[in-house]
């Protein structure tokens, strides 16, 4: 059918739609970048790329508006459409990737609402737990040296599965750490335990800091349990501990796949931390030889502490060892044959 002059319209760039798309993508990517900066650094890169796309889109739209009356208007119309299509596609992929975080965020909010109920249970949590309630519910007997493991944040596991995980996690940490310390001959009468604390769930380091100060425990452990698309459970555990100040060892990731042998073998920062705690107890009890042995063992294990926290951990350890060396009557004993011992 031949076109009439009415059908022929000048090529107008989709000004408003393109600007809206670019604006929404820009704001969302910006928000995701900020979230990523504080919570998960892996999100930053795709979010940042999204922001670049949004800016490119805005620039192209601006050029297209200027060129609307020029002869290359058709070309800019095509470019704008391609960029819009690409940005929308990218935005959909990014949203799908961020969906679990969004879901977790939404569920965590609902847990805050549950906090108002009178009796605490294993599934309850709060952003700001009642410290009095936590210290009352999770007390260490005087003769024990207890590290508390708080119930993990959980948004995906059913209650039964979550309780099963939590029971095994406490048991393996309690028995595994104790067995390691006993085998290294570090306990020397210390009743070291890892005990479960279900009075609250800890979401962030600032809450962990306040909680450990209130509890007066040598360390607390907390974290998050997630289920991967292939149904594997992944736990991420943080340790908040007190030396002269509150410190963190963060983000030990454990994949609970079909083979439990990897998980049952306690390794890494948890053991280094436990040795340090035991060393502190011996030091306070006036047993410098036992304390030194524990600190040296912690130092051997320090290579397994995450790189980001290792320096902080070694600083604390070396400080303790220097304190002990200053009081060691045989620190100056030197080999007659020369060299250092």
């Amino acid at each position: 059918m031949p076109r009439t002059p009415v059908d022929i319209k000048p090529a107008k760039p989709p000004k408003s739609i393109a600007r809206w798309v670019a604006g929404v993508v820009g704001v969302c990517s910006g928000a995701a970048t900020i979230y990523g900066l504080f919570s998960n650094k892996r999100i930053i890169i795709p979010a940042f790329i999204g922001m670049i796309f949004a800016m490119v889109l805005l620039l192209v739209v601006q050029r297209a508006i200027r060129a609307v009356s020029a002869k290359d208007a058709k070309f800019y119309d095509l470019v704008v459409k391609i960029v819009i299509g690409f940005v929308v596609l990218y935005f959909i992929v990014l949203t799908a990737a961020l969906f679990p975080f969004l879901l977790k965020w939404l569920t965590a909010d609902s847990e805050q609402i549950q906090h108002s109920s009178a009796t605490p249970s294993a599934t309850q949590s709060s952003a700001e737990p009642s410290l009095a309630r936590v210290t009352e519910a999770c007390q260490s007997p005087a003769e024990q040296c207890t590290v508390f493991l708080f119930d993990y944040l959980n948004a995906q596991l059913a209650e039964d599965e979550f309780q099963g995980f939590q029971i095994i996690q406490v048991d393996r940490l309690n028995k595994g750490i104790r067995a390691h310390l006993a085998s290294a001959d570090l306990l020397k009468g210390i009743d070291f335990r890892v005990a479960r604390c279900s009075a609250t769930k800890i979401k962030e380091t600032s809450v962990a800091d306040r909680t450990i100060k209130a509890m007066k425990a040598p360390a607390i452990m907390w974290g998050v349990i997630q289920k991967l698309p292939d149904n594997k459970l992944v736990s991420t555990t943080f340790i908040t501990w007190i030396d002269d100040q509150v410190r963190q060892i963060g983000g030990t990731r454990n994949e609970l796949g079909v083979d439990l042998t990897q998980v049952l073998e306690i390794k890494g920062s948890v053991l280094a931390m436990a040795s340090f705690i035991v060393g502190n107890v011996h030091m306070k009890a006036g047993k410098p030889e036992f304390a030194r042995k524990a600190f040296l063992h912690a130092k051997e294990l320090a290579v397994q502490v995450d790189e980001g926290d290792r320096l902080d951990f070694l600083t604390a350890l070396n400080h303790r060892l220097q304190q002990l060396d200053a009081q060691n009557p045989v620190a100056s004993l030197q080999p007659i044959g020369g060299g250092n011992p």
Binding site: G164, I167, I168, V170, D171, R172, K175, G176, R178, A179, H180, A182, S183, A184, D185, L187, K188, G189, D191, V258, D259, L260, T261, L264, E265, K287, E289, F290, R292, K293, L296, H297, E300, N328, P329, V330, A331, L333, Q334, P335, I336, G337, G338, G339, N340, P341
Partner: protein, 414 residues
């Protein structure tokens, strides 16, 4: 007349079945079983989720220990099960149970189930002094007679073990599900009249009934009580691929029992086998103690200094801050010094290692061994080469060390 009486008695003794081992499964609260035997105590494995499998696992382990044991006189296995009042297996409780049974070796552990599979972690405690053989201040230590070295006031040198507890890496029992474990267990408790699957069933091994374990034939083992005697099939256990990883735990225990009952050659071979086959996945303490036992058994059995030195050096590398490998090295070098010349490197390196052990742990054995080293005539030349004023330097060091030794006696380590 007397000879006529003794001869039939001797003949009768020769033909009596020779019971070399014994086994019992009993409640955890029981008093001592098999008072004069060399015992391994196996405690019920625990699970945080409960279940009977822990008791069955420990029974199987006990029977496997008997089925695979060799070179241990008067051997017995006591398997203890939880009663209604659950006893938490803390270090103190494990120690107390071992002492009550006078068992030098105690095995216990945990198991976890996931998706129909069983994961097991095991621990072993070795306290030779609880067997009642030696209860002096140096009980359970490695020692070497150094009277030939003519050191004033010193006739023995000592080295303690770095730990009395050994942990084993978690293993998976590859049975498809727990019912297989129970199936295996059910088979092993059946007592038959003859060593044959088709033979009449006499009954089952029962709780708190001690059995003497006699000869074996075609994989069958004779078990007897005062009332009856029959055959059980335990040999299958050692061949089961499901339990092959547990064999490492039993081999460790066997090596310790061989060593304890005066069979150092057997112990050396057992620990060599263990190190070759099972040690790769284990933690440094587990491996180091096995190397120390292999090395010390080598000294006792074959008097192979170089083999022992190599074993102790490996242990030292595994436990860089422990005094035990340094003290073991002192023992082998003192032993060597009584028969051959020490070299300069060995002597100077030993001094450094012992000083480090003294500084780290204030270890009494290290203090004494360092005192011995400074008085060793063979070492004097090497020290003089490094320090012209050796005699004065040595006297100063000896004064410090003797003060430390006295102090350590006043404040013994817990």
């Amino acid at each position: 007349m007397k000879a006529r009486c003794v001869l039939p008695l001797l003949t009768l003794l020769c033909f009596l079945p020779r019971f070399v081992a014994a086994v019992v499964v009993a409640p955890m609260t029981d008093a001592e079983w098999f008072a004069k035997s060399n015992k391994i105590l196996v405690l019920e494995y625990e699970s945080p989720l409960g279940g009977k499998e822990g008791a069955q696992l420990s029974q199987l382990l006990g029977w496997m220990a008997l089925a695979t044991a060799s070179g241990i006189d008067q051997f017995a296995v006591v398997t203890l099960q939880q009663t209604e009042t659950h006893l938490e297996l803390t270090d103190a409780n494990v120690k107390s149970l071992g002492e009550r049974q006078h068992a030098a070796v105690v095995i216990w552990g945990e198991f976890y189930q996931q998706a129909g599979r069983v994961f097991v972690t095991s621990h072993l405690r070795y306290t030779p002094q609880t067997s009642g053989r030696d209860r002096g201040p140096n009980a359970g230590k490695f020692s070497w007679n150094i009277s030939q070295l003519n050191i004033a006031e010193r006739t023995e040198a000592y080295a303690s073990l770095p730990s009395s507890q050994i942990n084993f890496s978690p293993i998976e029992i590859s049975t498809a599900d727990l019912s297989s474990l129970q199936e295996v267990w059910r088979k092993t408790v059946i007592i038959r009249l003859q060593p044959d699957e088709a033979s009449a069933k006499l009954g089952e091994l029962s709780l708190a009934t001690p059995y003497s374990v006699g000869e074996t034939a075609n994989g069958w083992t004779r078990v007897s009580t005062k009332e009856r005697s029959g055959w059980v099939r335990w040999a299958d256990l050692s061949g089961l691929s499901d339990f092959k990883d547990l064999t490492g735990v039993l081999q460790y225990a066997q090596g310790l029992m061989q060593f304890l009952t005066g069979n150092p050659r057997g112990a050396e071979e057992t620990f060599k086998r263990y190190l070759g086959k099972y040690a790769a996945r284990q933690d440094p303490m587990n491996k180091a103690v096995a190397h120390l036992f292999a090395g010390y058994s080598g000294m006792k059995g074959a008097v192979d200094w170089e083999f022992s030195i190599k074993q102790f050096e490996t242990a030292k590398a595994l436990l860089p801050n422990a005094s035990s490998p340094a003290n073991c090295m002192a023992l082998v070098l003192f032993a060597k010094a009584a028969r051959a010349a020490l070299n300069e490197n060995e002597t100077l390196s030993l001094e450094k290692n012992l000083i480090r052990a003294v500084q780290t742990e204030s270890d009494v054995d290290s203090i004494r061994n360092l005192e011995i080293l400074y008085q060793l005539p063979q070492a004097e030349a090497y020290f003089k080469k490094k320090n012209a004023n050796f005699v004065q330097a040595r006297d100063r060091q000896l004064t410090v060390l003797r003060n430390l030794e006295q102090q350590a006696h006043r404040e013994p380590n817990g």
